[in-house]
């Protein structure tokens, strides 16, 4: 499969993932652009990649985390004061609340893991390939992130925090 075809097939999902991760459409567009640029630059490795979609998502994740780290490092305080929700999300109070909850209680890396696991269906092996961790480490991290989310959402501490590592 040519890299261009892979881009076409994954653009929608990647574009949604990046928008979910950074919450800023302009930044997400930039990151999508950067993701495809990175992928194109690394296209020679594509032949060795087992799951090409997961490979692309891994690049996008790295881009998103890098952007979020930079933003957090330099502008977090200011952005929390002046940040406005995207026009398309202003009336979606449930979405706004979720974004706020995720940002306050989970590290970007954990947010990415949860989103990739529960919204995009990547398993721990694929997530391990994306993140450079072992599948076991991914499972443990996922379990902790899941527990924090559930607790932050007021659904009570999860009794199965450690069970994810069994998967």
């Amino acid at each position: 499969m040519a890299i261009e075809q892979l881009f076409c097939d994954c653009e929608g999902r990647l574009g949604r993932f990046l928008a979910q991760m950074v919450g800023n459409r302009q930044l997400a567009e930039d990151l999508l652009q950067d993701t495809f640029h990175d992928a194109f630059r690394l296209r020679d490795r594509l032949a060795e990649v087992e799951n090409r979609e997961a490979w692309l998502f891994g690049i996008a994740r790295n881009r998103a985390l890098s952007a979020l780290r930079s933003r957090r490092r330099f502008r977090a305080a200011l952005e929390r004061l002046v940040q406005r929700p995207e026009p398309s999300e202003r009336d979606d109070l449930e979405l706004l609340a979720l974004r706020d909850l995720l940002e306050r209680h989970l590290e970007p890396d954990d947010r990415a893991l949860l989103i990739l696991r529960y919204l995009y269906g990547f398993d721990s092996g694929e997530l391990a390939a994306m993140t450079g961790r072992t599948p076991e480490a991914v499972r443990q991290r996922l379990a902790r992130a899941k527990a924090r989310l559930i607790e932050a959402a007021g659904r009570g501490p999860s009794p199965t925090v450690q069970k994810e590592s069994d998967r």
Partner: protein
Amino acid sequence: MSPLIELAADDELVRELLAPLARVQPVTLRRTTRRHRRPHRMLLAAAALAAALLVGGLALAGVFGPLHNAVLKPNAPTLPSPVVSGIACRLIGQSAGTAQTVLTQHGYQIEWRFQHWGTQATGTDNNPTAPQAVTGGYTSTPATVPPDSIVWDITPDDRTPNMLFVFVQAPNDPNAPTISPPSCGSAGR
């Protein structure tokens, strides 16, 4: 409850909590490749500019030449010989080649005045807005002129006998007014 069932319940809860994120609209690649769009935009800009210049040009000062309906009504030439005056009068609006042939046949020398019309139209005292003539431009004094130049005035050189100034204009001068030959009477017919 078994751990597996609890696990599934947790997973369902997380999916439920994260569900609002599914409503986020994806971003897309910017495909406004400038290399392709720029020429298109430049063509549009050039077309718009050309249109603006055309409209502006037409609007400028009421206009000239056929487009403006400016009309030049030279006086009938007054030469020492009434006969030649009549002949010269009828050369107004004719070609420079014809004028040269006729006038030299009658023993006159010609000093050409080639008019390059300007872009300003003028009206008359009675109707200042009606373009009746053209001003601006300049007159050159070439030794010869293209034979198809149009004669629009002939006047004598008072200091040199048998010398005539023949004013011509280019047949395709975009600013040239329409030449309205004067009434020449019957002299010289």
